[in-house]
Symmetry: C2
Subunit: 277 residues, 2 copies
């Protein structure tokens, strides 16, 4: 997805591998004094292994780089305070959004005082202008976020997400085992934030099989590009979901044996982020 | 305001002067084949002179650069179709917002089909990803924009802005003339989009005098960092505004004679965009 982005801008960023501290250490060595910050989602499908986040924090500090967490997805889901609260680590800056306003357009940049203050009025350094927007004074999203965050505090939202996600994962994993599809259809992520992985006969990731699965669950009244539960999902919702997935996995199993084309009605879906149509 | 913006990014942009075609010609000569687009507000305080916009369009076409209008302020104000409709010119791309949703957070990118299609699905080139947002499906802003644009079409909003702005400009200019302040307090911009300029004894732009003026109008119940009228402003609102400004200009005149410090209660306001506090 680099088309349209000037090369000088692309070259300002270098990439590392999650849970692979050595891959970040070597970047600091290759670009001494040039890395301003390390940005990452604190957790996506894979949890931090071997104290990865805390070690990364020490590595950043040693190299004078800021540690920035993107908590857009993890915020109010892993924990009301995001992955940083869940794992007991305080990044230098972090971003929240999505669940924060329960659908309303709002997001937040949080950070340590000494960094955030660079955008403020009480210093003599050059100003870093953190925010200037036309709709900065818009207030219905703020009202929605305040109300939403109050509900997160007063009601067991995160607990519910973990409980129902766990129930869902157990049910789906049973259905997978019954169909003997352990190597072809898999769940990943925390109970509160489940995704699924679809594989073909050769056990390679497959968009065709993903499409077949979507086709079959949609037939059964279920739209689920992922398996992320919400506070409104009841036990009954979860059970209905497990049932629809179980039935769909039977078709999946046949398609593995007889060929996915035989069962696929339309063309396979493509990933959202792709360089070509 | 460049603090925090990497030098390679800053060096991707070069600047020209509005209404000065030669300043753009020389940039095209200095950077042959390297200028992707020319971006500007089609009009701010100064109208296009000597067919500037049309000549700029020809210059861009000749050099293979896109012409992009920022119509955030001019859209639905100079004309329902923005400055491009007012001046009869079609830029390659343009942006609308602000008045479009009458306070709700919505904006639009418009453009010629062959450019906009690069973000779409019906071509074989590398994709240019124009939009991917969490809140892309948020709909109350869209509803607000549809309703607002319908009102612009059904009621004489733009005409009202021009008429009331004209009434305001005439009244304020009379007050300026009565106080003999023609060289010190001035209006600029179209009637629909008036701003004011404050000058000190040496006729230099002055934030201290701007602050004094703000102080005096606020005392008289008027908050006006600019003099941009809206559809809800009645004749009576305009007359009250002229009266408050007239009285404030009397204080302004005294401050010119006796020193602004004598009349200023607090410290002078600073411009929003400034490198240091």
């Amino acid at each position: 997805m680099a088309s349209g982005i000037p090369i000088p801008m692309r070259s300002l960023t270098v990439k590392f591998h999650y849970n692979d501290l050595a891959s970040i250490e070597s970047l600091f060595e290759e670009h001494p004094g040039e890395i301003a910050c390390v940005m990452l989602e604190a957790e996506t499908t894979e949890p931090p292994m071997n104290n990865f986040l805390h070690k990364l924090q020490r590595l950043c500090k040693k190299n004078g780089a800021l540690l920035i967490f993107d908590e857009m997805i993890t915020g109010f889901r892993l924990h009301n305070g995001g992955a940083q609260a869940f794992y007991g680590i305080v990044p230098d800056l972090s971003t929240f959004g999505k669940a924060m306003g329960n659908g309303f357009a709002i997001s937040a940049l949080l950070g340590k005082r000494e960094i955030m203050e660079l955008g403020g009025l009480y210093h003599d350094k050059e100003r870093v202008f953190l925010l200037s927007t036309t709709h900065g004074a818009e207030n219905h999203s703020l009202a929605a976020a305040l109300e939403t965050m109050q509900i997160y505090q007063q009601q067991p939202v995160v607990e519910h997400l973990f409980r129902q996600g766990d129930r869902l994962a157990k049910g789906v994993n049973s259905a997978i085992a019954e169909s003997g599809l352990q190597d072809y259809f898999q769940l990943a992520g925390k109970p509160c934030n489940l995704i699924y992985i679809t594989r073909d006969q050769e056990k390679n990731r497959s968009q065709a099989f993903r499409t077949l699965f979507l086709q079959e669950i949609i037939k059964r009244g279920l739209i689920a590009p992922s398996l992320v539960v919400s506070f409104s999902h009841t036990d009954r919702d979860i059970d209905t979901t497990i049932e629809a997935i179980g039935e769909s996995l039977n078709v999946y199993r046949k398609a593995l044996a007889e060929g996915v084309e035989k069962y696929l009605v339309g063309r396979p879906v493509k990933p959202v982020f792709r360089p070509f149509n």
